[in-house]
């Protein structure tokens, strides 16, 4: 019996949704997200011979998408659409001020988060998680997304954003404080 492999439309739709979510998280703009995902599919079709099947289709597509997002970011920074990552007068300065008092102690010390893995099973948690990521101050978010969602090293992020290593750590620290605080307020502290 000969088996013919037809492109699975459901599967493509699923991949598309995933890629859109990924792009939205980082770009925060539905039109830009739509654009990069379309470009990703174009590149994928053009280069389909290069898909070895060694990785999953999703991993392969995500790899292409990552490059597209980084390209777009570079372009935006060149055209100064994006604030500079080490822009001094950013509102996130408040976060570290608000988290700690003058002596460097927690103003309200983090409390235990009960059973996070159970939350991971809950669709509502992921909605909150998405919102909290979107609310993060933009320049922190850029570094954080590259680190946690694109799996770039600190050195790679510094190069991308043209910032110092120290500054990169500061941004990542602030991003984590902001995300932690948001999850705590919107989810873990509420239960």
């Amino acid at each position: 019996m000969i088996q013919v492999e037809l492109p699975d439309i459901n599967n493509l739709q699923e991949q598309r949704n995933y890629l859109l979510r990924y792009a939205m998280l980082q770009l925060r703009d539905p039109h830009l997200a739509e654009d990069v995902v379309q470009e990703t599919f174009l590149v994928a079709v053009e280069n389909r011979d290069k898909f070895s099947g060694q990785s999953t289709l999703r991993t392969w597509l995500t790899g292409i998408l990552k490059h597209k997002i980084l390209d777009l970011r570079r372009k935006q920074r060149r055209e100064s659409v994006l604030p500079n990552a080490d822009d001094r007068q950013d509102p996130l300065e408040n976060i570290s001020i608000e988290s700690f008092d003058d002596t460097g102690h927690w103003i309200s010390p983090p409390q235990t988060w009960s059973n996070p893995s159970l939350s991971f099973e809950n669709q509502k948690f992921w909605e909150v998680f998405e919102q909290c990521n979107q609310r993060m101050p933009l320049n922190c978010a850029q570094a954080f997304m590259m680190r946690e969602f694109m799996d770039l090293s600190t050195a790679e992020i510094c190069k991308e954003l043209a910032i110092s290593t120290t500054n990169c750590w500061v941004l990542l620290h602030r991003a984590r404080l902001a995300l932690r605080e948001c999850l705590d307020l919107q989810w873990f502290g509420r239960k």
């Binding site: 460097g104 102690h105 946690e148 620290h173 404080l177 999850l183």
Partner: protein
């Protein structure tokens, strides 16, 4: 002796680089006496797992 702000900075950096033995030691001393930073330490791990899981969903 580290304060909480410094400890939380180091805890965050430990996710991005290999912190030195000296840093580890002072962090451990601080964590022995600080519940807030202990929770922070666990929570940034949870957030990292959440980022991974979010993409796997």
């Amino acid at each position: 002796m580290l304060n909480c702000k410094q400890a939380s900075e180091l805890l965050s950096q430990a996710l991005d680089r290999n912190i030195t033995l000296r840093e580890k030691f002072s962090l451990r001393l601080h964590l022995l006496i600080c519940g807030g930073c202990n929770n922070f330490s666990k929570q940034i791990q949870v957030m990292r797992e959440a980022c991974r899981s979010y993409l796997e969903k």
